[in-house]
């Protein structure tokens, strides 16, 4: 039981990371009906920027917001320069463009920072505390805390503010929104900036995609719940299914994607896309 609880808590911690990346994907999807395949690469690049800053003696608490700002600006730039020219192109073109972007960002990051994986120093200590009988590290608590705050802020921005409302409007009905005075093109760019910043908060692409699909690719709440489910499931599978171990956890995430796409294609929280004609 103790062990089980332990795995659940660690699962929630990694789930928090998946949830924020998944949320970034959902934001982009809602901002232009597009899955950004470069999301993970952009997050990786942002992490490298933070890494370099910290490496040069910059305090973590300065490097973190600086990286967020850089990622936000980068997201806007990418939308203005790379995506905007093909905005009206068929969806397949957009998919290829973001795939190309992923390769490009990967190459640039490799060129500058090298291809050796590095682990990012955590600002939180690895010491553990006893929480309801499970041992939780401050690191995990920190991850859960930061993810929760980011998710909450994004939710409030999108659902409770006028600018969030215009962003959602611009994404779903660009023509009608223009007639209401919404600066559609800038709202889309803002969506990219936000998603890029949220993506910078976390790290691993495939898991996040699994989370976004699980929750329904249009649902912010789904992204969060999906992220947590994937985190916990992958962790539990790693601990209790002997042949999964640490190596096949990725496969479990992929299996979740496939299962969801087969059984409930619109996700747990997605609405079937029905249109009145």
């Amino acid at each position: 039981m103790q062990e089980f609880l332990q795995q659940i808590v660690s699962g929630i911690a990694s789930g928090g990371i998946f949830a924020s990346l998944a949320l970034a994907l959902v934001l982009i999807y809602n901002a232009m009906g597009l899955v950004n395949f470069a999301q993970g690469e952009m997050a990786m690049l942002a992490t490298f920027i933070a890494f370099t800053l910290v490496d040069h003696g910059v305090s973590y608490w300065i490097a973190f917001p600086v990286t967020l700002v850089v990622a936000f600006a980068g997201g806007i730039l990418v939308q203005r320069i790379v995506i905007r020219p093909v905005e009206r192109a068929p969806i397949l073109t957009l998919v290829i463009v973001t795939l190309g972007l992923a390769t490009l960002v990967n190459g640039v990051a490799g060129f500058i920072f090298g291809y050796v994986p590095r682990s990012f120093p955590s600002p939180f200590s690895a010491q553990t505390v006893n929480l309801l009988g499970a041992f939780v590290s401050y690191r995990d608590l920190g991850v859960i805390g930061v993810s929760t705050v980011v998710l909450l802020l994004i939710y409030l921005l999108l659902q409770r503010t006028t600018i969030g409302l215009t962003m959602r409007a611009a994404a779903h009905h660009p023509e009608a929104s223009r007639l209401l005075g919404v600066h559609v093109s800038w709202m889309l760019a803002l969506g990219w900036g936000l998603a890029s910043a949220v993506g910078a908060v976390s790290g691993i692409m495939v898991y996040a995609f699994a989370a976004a699909v699980l929750g329904g690719i249009e649902s912010p709440l789904g992204a969060v719940v999906g992220g947590l489910i994937v985190g916990v499931t992958v962790n539990l599978a790693g601990a209790y299914i002997p042949f999964v171990g640490g190596d096949l956890q990725l496969a479990v995430a992929l299996a979740i994607i496939i299962a969801v796409l087969v059984i409930k294609p619109n996700g747990l929280f997605g609405r079937p896309s029905v249109r009145r004609v």
Partner: protein
């Protein structure tokens, strides 16, 4: 007195297909003008040209200022509310969020906006009841009401209405037209009304233009056109 909206020899089209071959018309401050004509005559295209939905040649002036090369969102900002063909309802959002979008560019303060909300809900009580529901759950008539209410909240000087009667029951159409007339008189907002239902439009407007394949075929006072047997027969089909 110069008109609020003036079109002078406006030509435009979609790609190589030209739709308007030189349309001139004027909407006076606070007036109601009908734009009539058969399907494909260029009525919707005329409205789209006014709010910058496509490029045009000639001249379009609003309150004395040329709208050339202005973006749609900025044209809307100077006081033209366009209720487009198909109503332009944002079905992913709630009724209230749709209304909020109508008022989101206003700078005259929350109190004034709230007052207008109350007034709009008086015109369309059903929207108050459905405030928190998704706009996709509204019936066709209710969606038309929402679109017009939203346009009212934009506090425009000119409203462009593209076939508000389309697909609605005659009784609903009557009441919507009544409300538009009330609003026009109370707020001195000019209306350019595109309609298939010529009889109704002529009853409501002071002046009318009849388009035929991208040109103004007939223009005049609505009462005159209504009384003119041959115009009615050959252009208005009733």
């Amino acid at each position: 007195m110069s008109a609020l909206l003036e079109l002078e020899d406006v030509r435009c089209g979609y790609g190589p297909t030209s739709v308007l071959h030189g349309v001139s018309l004027a909407v006076p401050e606070g007036g109601i003008v009908s734009l009539l004509g058969a399907n494909g005559a260029g009525k919707t295209t005329t409205l789209r040209a006014i709010t910058g939905g496509l490029r045009w040649l000639g001249e379009i002036r609003f309150a004395g200022r040329s709208l050339r090369r202005m973006h749609t969102e900025d044209i809307v900002g100077v006081g033209i509310a366009h209720v487009p063909e198909g109503r332009g309802i944002l079905t992913e959002l709630t009724v209230d969020e749709n209304l909020k979008l109508g008022a989101h560019r206003r700078k005259d303060g929350a109190t004034a906006v709230r007052k207008d909300y109350d007034r709009v809900f008086e015109y369309f009580p059903v929207l108050r009841e459905r405030r928190n529901l998704s706009a996709s759950t509204l019936s066709g008539g209710e969606q038309q009401m929402l679109a017009i209410a939203r346009a009212m909240l934009m506090q425009p000087r000119l409203m462009l209405l593209d076939e508000p009667s389309l697909g609605l029951a005659p009784l609903v159409v009557r009441s919507i037209f009544e409300i538009i007339r009330t609003f026009n008189q109370a707020d001195h907002v000019a209306v350019l009304l595109v309609e298939q239902n010529a009889r109704l439009a002529l009853e409501m407007s002071t002046d009318a233009y009849v388009l035929e394949v991208g040109r103004v075929a007939v223009k005049g006072a609505s009462a005159e056109l209504k009384g003119n047997e041959s115009v009615r027969r050959s252009y208005l089909g009733y």
